[in-house]
Symmetry: C2
Subunit: 386 residues, 2 copies
């Protein structure tokens, strides 16, 4: 079976081990040579170019994604040619336009922060007043990792974005006074089968995820866990999603409000590689191929994943370096800090504010897992944790 | 860091996920196009050809192996050129010649079955008498998976081998009345650091391993477990081994006798991918690169690995097939039998008596893990289990 992945980032890279195990031939359309997923890259080209994508997809059984940015007209052309596009174009549309996502989720009845489409200063100022003097403004298209997101106290703080947004407008949301941020991950097969991993807590710094905590020992009340799977299932079925879905939510007391959706394996699910029976990457491949889903049970009681933002350039690089001894020294020093740490290096050049890898540790205790994961990540140059 | 693997079989294939995680650039010298490890194959050629191997090794930091058959003169030429060859040529020599292995292990003081070098009918018949009327005869070079091994009741049963073995002779061994066969796996780094996985029980049929059982719950007495690690450590240090070593032994009561050695990741350690913190493949890469070793603790209490010998041709193939729906049906039917089964497909064509994949299941109970692993393997066409 041949599955094509559009996009050659770390998500495509982490699908490779799963494809090797399952005997699936993974083919990647990468943006550039030396991409994270270069090992499986069969084409290099622009995913916004119709001819490039159609040629790439020619002999593939299923098309799926490393990111959600493939233009709708290309997704529709693939579908029209009889290709199995998973998740389907109509679901991906929500991830491509935050305003459309908010409208669709409202229709489904998912719990949301107060939000509005604002097209001018008056509308934005009125919204800001209505939610207590401060709001979040988001450009509907193209933002990620804190980019395209701004906290504003008055419409003048977003006048540049307002003037370029035209009639589409911007998404304005209330600032939710959350207790913590959480993420519910699920996979839904083309057959309709669904599996949920446990709800996890995510910790962000400057809009970028820094830590994810998963536990079998009462990290969440049963009510909150049940509500999270209920919300995620309603969304997945409501939008016709296939593959992995991450529903990022705010927890306020026992209540949950949907913040963002990701329609692909997601950073909040990287812990599943080393901490659950079936990783989100294997589950994604099984789901988009229409195979039965695997168990999403945890294999340890307390798992913490620490992102590495920045990173030491001797360890994090996309091509070849000459200084193997320094690389060994840094990598070895990090590995020596915790024999149970699982290191994941994405094959990307170290750069400020860039995710270049992660570390997962599974023990019997969340603080202990976190202490070890952070120690290893810091030794590898995680600027977000030091 | 660039590690080269000579040989493109399933062991090289299963090193790929570990190399992706660790950010190690793995380069494989494969015997043919469409090898198991083709994803990482940078060269295709004959490992017995000096020029081919030297060219392959040119820019690599470490050379290691998928098999033990690279000729000594090539290993020595690599070493003479300053390449880090792991395990070293002197250790691999033991795996290449069973008579030399027996002699070396005798010197180290490892417990062995009664054995002798026999060069003619008289010597063999005399040995057979001395060990009770039946013996095992092995060709010293080239045997595997039951090939090159024969049970004999008189020298005439091996007269063909005797006449072609010349002055080197054959290895004759007593038939050990063992209670079970076991395997002690360890990794030894170039720094001298050693980690042991728990002793496992192996089940063979017609000379091919069919099942491996690993347990945290008293599968072996403490005495036997301790004796196994002691023997394996003495051997590893005695022969200067680096990387993963499998010491296959016979258990007779509380006693252990060394049967075979494998100086690379081994079938009896495939369960570690899904059942221990650090897989034998990651550990092998860490060991040959001189990095600190990872924890070899089990992540579940009872793990069983079932080999798939034979296999259904719609699922097990090396190239492309056309019938995706049949493939999905068979693979899906197998996966549906146990949501916690971890399937590993080697990318080899299905063929009688050939290992083409394996299935691992980890639960709280050995019989339950075994029942599920066998059910999935049989659904995939394991002729050895049905």
């Amino acid at each position: 079976m041949k599955i094509g992945v559009i996009g050659g980032g770390q998500l495509a890279r982490m699908m490779i081990p799963a494809s090797i195990n399952l005997g699936i031939e993974l083919q990647v359309l990468a943006e550039a040579e030396n991409s994270s997923a270069h090992l499986a890259a069969t084409s290099v080209g622009d995913y916004r170019d119709m001819g490039t994508v159609l040629a790439f997809a020619e002999n593939l059984d299923v098309i799926t994604f490393d990111h959600e940015h493939v233009p709708q007209e290309i997704l529709e052309a693939l579908t029209a040619r009889g290709k199995s596009v998973q998740p389907p174009a109509s679901a991906l549309a929500l991830a491509q336009d935050k305003l459309w996502m908010r409208e669709s989720l409202s229709k489904i009845g998912a719990p949301l922060p107060k939000w509005a489409r604002v097209s001018d200063v008056a509308e934005l100022d009125s919204f800001i007043q209505a939610v207590g003097g401060k709001a979040i403004v988001k450009t509907p298209i193209g933002g990620y990792d804190g980019k395209g997101v701004r906290v504003v106290g008055s419409a003048s703080d977003a006048s540049d974005w307002l003037s370029s947004s035209g009639s589409t407008g911007l998404l304005a949301e209330e600032l939710v006074p959350f207790d913590r941020e959480v993420s519910q991950l699920l996979a839904r097969s083309t057959t309709g089968e669904i599996k949920f991993w446990p709800l996890v807590e995510t910790v962000q710094r400057e809009g970028i995820c820094t830590l994810v905590r998963a536990s079998q020992q009462g990290l969440f009340s049963e009510g909150v866990q049940n509500r999270a799977t209920e919300i995620a299932q309603e969304i997945a079925e409501g939008i016709g999603l296939t593959g992995v879905l991450a529903v990022e939510m705010f927890q306020v007391g026992e209540e949950l409000l949907v913040n963002e959706l990701a329609m692909r394996p997601h950073n909040s699910g990287h812990w599943t590689i080393d901490g659950s029976v079936t990783s989100q990457f294997e589950q994604h491949l099984r789901a988009v191929a229409g195979l039965p889903l695997g168990s999403a049970e945890m294999t340890s009681s307390a798992v913490v994943m620490a992102n590495i933002i920045g990173g030491k350039s001797e360890v994090f690089y996309s091509g070849n370096t000459g200084d193997v001894e320094t690389e060994k020294q840094i990598l070895g020093g990090a590995l020596a800090k915790a024999p149970d740490a699982k290191i994941h290096i994405y094959g990307k050049d170290a750069r400020k504010a860039r995710k270049v890898g992660h570390v997962t540790v599974a023990t019997e205790s969340l603080p202990e897992s976190e202490r070890r994961a952070v120690a290893v990540a810091v030794a590898l140059g995680a600027e977000n944790l030091s």
